[in-house]
């Protein structure tokens, strides 16, 4: 696959742009993608690489450090002007899709929000069969999400996000085997919980032997969370805050994402590691999506494929610490390979979209616990 064309791309773009504009006026560009620029939509691409693409790309990607690197690398490689708008919560981009997107080309979205977006017809279908990098996505990751519906694929996995139990390696001789460590009275004042109704209630569900997606006893979940409260130092609500609690060694155990644990350990020098307790640990995936209304959908498709190439995916792990959606073992140092390998006996539970009832009950429980 030749990425660089041997003749002036801008000249080609100018020439073909005029033809495309004429075609657009004539109503010859089908697809109904809602693109404001009269551009083609991803499913119009039948051969790789796309022959023409625009010279701009507007991303929303919350892996800030990686996005900064990718902007330059992808921009230089394809002669594209790339911008990135970070976000801290998915509702920031979702509300813009609700309002009728005309700006965002590519989003690093989270599973549940992707599903909501698909249901509301906010996303372009992707021609994964012709995208070379689709082959890089491992089979188990392809299956671990709900971004494929009715035979159509609407996203490409960017990273797997594990919600493990993070612990201080100086304090524990070995990885704690149970979430019960977060109910250990001898650790009073040295443990924390995530101020997130879903995550915290799901941990309590696993601790009490229930299905975190569809629990059977909500009262028990509330009860154990109330029992836990006096033992905690705090409920952390910001990823940086959660990480700093470990870096400053204010706490010795608590839920933290894999990526933040990686940063705490390798960038901040904190004595931490993570594990999936025997009751299980939740994980979700972040995915590249191309929203309808994207002004540069083909460039976005090109970027999505580029980001799923192994060296570029490996860069995501090395800067952010999250396990990419593609197999990058061959690209990593031994230290990183060890950190990113999840033992086969870990009981990992995919964080499926909760039913309205469960989500509502979790929210009520969490409010009651915090108000207790």
């Amino acid at each position: 696959m030749s990425r660089k064309q041997s003749f002036g791309r801008r000249e080609v773009l100018k020439t073909t742009g005029a033809a495309l504009a004429t075609g657009a006026v004539a109503g010859c560009l089908g697809g109904g993608g809602g693109g404001s620029g009269g551009d083609r939509v991803p499913m119009d691409i039948t051969e790789w690489p796309p022959e023409e693409y625009s010279s701009n790309l507007n991303m929303m990607n919350w892996y800030d450090s990686w996005a900064e690197w990718a902007m330059e690398e992808f921009g230089n490689e394809y002669d594209v002007e790339v911008t990135n708008e970070g976000f801290s919560s998915p509702d920031q981009w979702y509300s813009r899709l609700q309002a009728g997107n005309t700006e965002i080309d590519n989003i690093a979205a989270t599973t549940n929000w992707v599903e909501r977006s698909i249901n509301n017809d906010f996303l372009h279908e992707l021609p994964v069969d012709i995208m070379p990098a689709w082959e890089n996505v491992t089979d188990n990751i392809k299956e671990a999400s709900s971004y494929q519906q009715d035979g159509s694929t609407y996203a490409i996995p960017e990273a797997l996000v594990l919600y493990p139990l993070t612990y201080n390696t100086d304090h524990f001789d070995a990885a704690p085997e149970s979430w019960g460590v977060l109910w250990d009275e001898s650790l009073e004042g040295e443990i924390m919980m995530w101020d997130n109704s879903t995550v915290s209630c799901q941990i309590a569900a696993m601790y009490t032997g229930q299905d975190p997606i569809s629990p059977s006893d909500f009262d028990e979940i509330e009860e154990v969370l109330k029992q836990q409260k006096p033992l905690l130092r705090t409920y952390w609500g910001d990823y940086e805050q959660g990480m700093q609690l470990f870096v400053n060694e204010d706490v010795v155990a608590g839920p933290l994402t894999m990526g933040r644990t990686y940063t705490a350990r390798f960038s901040e020098g904190a004595p931490v590691n993570y594990t999936a307790p025997e009751e299980g640990a939740m994980f979700t995936s972040d995915l590249f999506v191309i929203p309808k209304g994207a002004p540069n959908p083909i460039t976005s498709l090109l970027f999505t494929n580029w980001a799923s190439e192994k060296p570029n995916a490996a860069q995501l792990f090395e800067t952010m610490g999250y396990k990419p959606g593609v197999d990058i073992q061959s690209e990593l140092s031994e230290q990183d390979r060890e950190f990113t390998t999840w033992p086969s006996d870990w009981n990992l539970v995919f964080s499926e979209t909760l039913s309205d009832d469960v989500r509502s009950r979790y929210d009520e429980i969490w409010t009651a616990v915090k108000a207790a």
């Binding site: 905690l232 705090t234 609500g237 805050q241 929210d363 009520e364 409010t367 009651a368 915090k370 108000a371």
Partner: protein, 305 residues
Amino acid sequence: MGTETETRAPSGESTLLTDLTDFFRTRPRLKKLAIAGPPYGVLIGFFLLPLVAMLVISFQEGQINGPWTLANYTNFLGSQTYLTVVWRTLVITVQVTVLVTVVGYTLAYSIVRFSRRATLLLLLVILPFWTSYIIRMYAWINILQSGGVLDSTLQLFSLPSVGLLYTQPAVMIGFTYVWLPLAVLPFYASLTNMDADLIEAAKDLGAGPIKTFFTVTLPMTKNGVITGVILVFIPTFGSFITPRLLGGTNNIMIGMVIENQFKSAFNWPFGAAIGIVISVVVVLLLVAGARGGGNLFGSSGGERT
């Protein structure tokens, strides 16, 4: 008229201005509309319409465009859990407001009465606003955490560490720091406008410093105090970042519950309903407070005439 315009206005631009002035002079209603229209437009577009939208959403079930229902209001008002959170929020807000008012008034009074560098001191008060709210909170985390700046300073004097972070005092410190400039500015303005001769007159008539303060200074600056209280009370009531970053496990506020409805529970109508109820509560409290404040300060007014 054309001849007069040419005489008064040497340039084409001035002629246009003069014509425009004459145009509005003969149309007073249009003139009022031109002056008052833009601010009303902003208020309608950016305040009233969003408020109406929120009100509409609050009567929908589960999601935007869902069926109409009153359940969001009955669930909230009928839940002891949520009412407990509202009460706790109210207590924290009143504590913060009192603390900020006392500290802010003292600061403003000192600047007005005892300082020759009022402008510089006011600039220092406002200075924190030039830095992001989140960054300021993280700065406080560094100061208050175990082994942080505060603890290190105490150790220099052989004092024990306090480790205030994730406690109620940490939340109070954070709030006081953040809202202090909002309170100091109206306090300063009202104190500056007060006639200092009245204080001298009170002293001449035998009033001590405390009696002078409560019978002259405070009533004369009533409007500034009420403005400062409002500016502190409202944002504190809806706050969620400060208690989340600095507080422990017992600092839940209603703003955090509302945020959770939008970000985690995905129940926007319920979040909107809570927001509407809280807005009504805050307005009622402020009206009651303003009226109570008026009685408290007596009938001496407060306006300099």
